[in-house]
């Protein structure tokens, strides 16, 4: 008994530094941001006069925030709706004992290794209406296919999302490949002997068994999409107009360019709530699965 207590104390001491750091730099500052979001702090010097929910009420009648939130939902839907199937199909193809599998795997995974800033800068050049992909179309005599890309206010958001899809599909592939490799060979073998065809195996065995991977991916990708900033900032700065504006970018501009610190904190809090709405159920799901095991 004493030995257990001693060991627990030792473990607790080992964990203490990490707990203190996480407590201060994550939870304390979340609390601090919530507090700031209910003040009138505007300008360089802090001001903590309590104004209640005024900043939040203004936020929902703020044209730019509403447009940004809608943009973000579009990015979320298109991004997840593309990355998951693309990643799964790539993984499925690589799982068929193809030649040079390691080479393909590296190629697909490579974009993941790039910094978002690098990706954004390179793609901004590709999307440049006179210097990028368009000049290839020009050389091939395919002027019909030319597009304004990120300079087109109606489609800019889509093209920014395409870049994000390019960056993250390889990551989804890697997760799915690991999940596929974990499926016991006997299961598919048995199904095949019973006369199941490729589609039946896919729908009845493969998809249900990679479901945990799918759930994890959806959660991971959702928070990537909700926090999207780097790509937008470097490629378009939120333009044309507010066509690619997102709350994360508005938060940065509001806080650090316009010195409206309290208002920026309010945007941060709303974003935090959005992310929690997605992550919360995942945490519950995870706990339940652990109990079942």
């Amino acid at each position: 008994m004493r030995w257990v207590l001693k060991e627990n104390l030792f473990l607790f001491l080992l964990l203490l530094p990490a707990m203190v750091l996480v407590g201060v730099f994550i939870y304390y500052f979340i609390g601090w941001t919530v507090r700031v979001s209910m003040t009138d702090w505007q300008g360089l010097r802090p001001s903590y006069n309590f104004v209640g929910l005024r900043n939040f009420l203004r936020l929902f009648s703020d044209y730019r925030f509403v447009v940004g939130a809608k943009n973000n939902l579009f990015v979320l839907a298109v991004f997840i709706g593309s990355v998951i199937p693309i990643g799964f199909i790539l993984a499925l193809m690589l799982d068929q004992n193809v030649r040079f599998e390691a080479l393909f795997r590296s190629i697909f995974l490579l974009p993941m290794a790039l910094s978002l800033i690098v990706t954004a800068t390179a793609w901004a050049w590709l999307y440049n209406p006179t210097l990028g992909i368009n000049s290839i179309f020009q050389a091939l005599g395919l002027e019909r296919l030319q597009s304004l890309f990120i300079a087109d206010p109606n489609r800019a958001l889509f093209w920014v999302t395409v870049t994000a899809i390019w960056q993250f599909s390889g990551f989804a592939m890697a997760i799915y490949l690991a999940a596929l490799r974990a499926i016991p060979e006997e299961l598919t073998e048995a199904a095949r002997i019973d006369g199941a065809n490729f589609w039946q195996i896919l729908v009845r065995i493969t998809l249900p068994l990679v479901k945990p991977a799918t759930v994890s991916l959806i959660v991971l990708l959702t928070h990537v999409a909700l926090k999207i900033f780097d790509l937008v900032w470097v490629m378009t700065s939120g333009g044309p107009g507010y066509a690619t504006d997102v709350p994360a970018l508005y938060m940065f501009v509001t806080t650090f360019r316009q010195d409206r610190v309290a208002y920026g904190a309010a945007i941060a809090v709303v974003m935090f709530v959005f992310v929690m709405v997605i992550i919360g159920p995942y945490l519950v799901y995870n706990r339940r699965n652990e109990v079942e095991l």
């Binding site: 440049n128 209406p129 044309p240 107009g241 507010y242 650090f256 360019r257 010195d259």
Partner: protein
């Protein structure tokens, strides 16, 4: 093995702390001059300083990002965290006033008196360096904002003489457009480029008096002069390339040389970019000024943050900046002109010499987009609204929105 690790860790800690506690003869400087031409200019200035002060260690901290858009955020967080650098680049006028009003800068009156700088720096320019009667900044350079660069061959081919009024500018646009040439090369990738054009149009259309009043909150965006300027701006945008939001100012300037467009509005830093790209001023391209008789000031300065490390070394640096040697080392390379009016102009090119002559006689008006005329926080909003106007074209709604932002930021009571 284990001891080696221990020593390495100890060394690392020592290195970290030596970074924090800067030595007395160390000067930590922040600026945003990283592009070709700019970097060489600041290097030349720092070299002059280093020669005069061989014992000082200069810690150079450039933050990339045109017009300092990225550095401002870095600087605000550093100063708020109580970690100001020895000195940092800041636009003279409103942008510097933000720091002064918050008590974050120390006055440097003695420096100005000791050197009699009040005699050699133009009076209107001094107003951007002085707050509440005290001097806080030393100017490095003067750039001119209200310039148009044009392709000389295109203008000659179509028998066009550079315009002197807004009406003439619009006539030229019509003529070029009819000849199948895009008149205006526009870039708006970082949004401020479009706001810069509007600032110039506002100055030309409504006049310098209204311009200054407006940015001081004495006139409003809903006034007829402002509405008229927005309308002209809208017309001009119609003569520009539609894919502007994919282009930065330098890419847009390049379009006038490739013949994709005829002229481009921006500050005189375009000159440095075009000559750097191998084009010759006066042969391949030239400039015209709108409005004639007004000088849109873009002035970079350095000051003395309160409680900053290396104070003596910094004071000596501020001194170097405004000495003839400092000014003449920096400005010819940067493509700007000196902030003092008593210097030899023979080392400057023809365009700069014309600007130096204009500086002595024109009405000097501070640029708003480049931080001198109005608070940065308001201008950030202003720029976003103007950029959106490029797509909505709605004059009334844009004017109303700009006015609402002016009220919100406390510019208009």
């Amino acid at each position: 093995m284990r001891r080696g690790f221990f020593i390495a860790a100890l060394l690392l800690i020592v290195m970290l702390f030596s970074q924090v506690a800067a030595a007395a003869d160390e000067m930590l400087i922040y600026h945003w001059w990283t592009a070709g031409g700019e970097k060489e200019a600041i290097d030349a200035l720092l070299e002059v300083y280093q020669k005069q002060n061989p014992d000082v260690t200069i810690v150079d901290n450039p933050v990339p990002g045109g017009a300092g858009v990225e550095m401002k955020a870095v600087m605000k967080s550093l100063i708020l965290a109580g970690q100001p650098p020895s000195t940092f680049q800041v636009h003279a006028g409103a942008e510097a006033q933000l720091y002064v009003d918050n008590g974050l800068m120390d006055p440097i009156n003695e420096l100005w008196e000791k050197h009699g700088w009040a005699e050699v720096v133009p009076q209107d320019l001094q107003d951007l360096l002085k707050f509440n009667g005290d001097y806080y900044l030393v100017p490095v350079n003067v750039h001119r904002a209200n310039l148009f660069f044009y392709n000389k061959k295109v203008f000659d081919e179509h028998n066009i003489t550079p315009p002197t009024t807004i009406e003439e500018l619009l006539e030229i646009c019509e003529k070029l457009d009819a000849a199948g040439i895009t008149p205006l090369a526009l870039g708006s990738r970082y949004k401020w480029e479009a706001a810069h054009l509007f600032e110039t149009i506002l100055l030309a259309s409504a006049g310098p008096e209204f311009y200054v009043d407006y940015f001081q909150g004495k006139a409003r965006a809903t006034d007829p002069q402002f509405i008229e300027a927005l309308t002209v701006f809208g017309k001009l945008i119609g003569y520009g390339n539609k894919d502007h939001s994919a282009f930065t100012w330098d890419q847009a300037a390049n379009r006038i040389m490739t013949g994709e467009a005829a002229f481009h509005n921006n500050g005189d830093w375009v000159k440095g970019y075009l000559t750097g790209a191998g084009y010759e001023a006066g042969v391949d391209f030239d400039v015209f000024v709108l409005p004639v008789g007004s000088f849109g000031l873009v002035v970079d300065g350095f000051g003395l943050p309160s409680g900053a490390p290396g104070r003596d070394a910094t004071l000596r640096f501020l001194e170097t900046i405004l000495t003839p040697e400092g000014q003449q080392a920096f400005n010819p390379i940067k493509g700007s002109i000196p902030a003092r009016s008593d210097l030899d102009d023979s080392i400057y090119d023809e365009i700069s010499r014309k600007m130096m002559a204009d500086l002595a006689q024109d009405t000097l008006v501070p640029s708003a987009v480049h931080g001198s005329a109005a608070p940065d926080a308001f201008m950030s909003d202003w720029t976003d609204v103007i950029h959106r106007f490029l797509y909505t074209g709605d004059v009334e709604q844009t004017a109303r929105e700009l006015d609402a932002r002016a009220v919100e930021h406390g510019l208009v009571q």
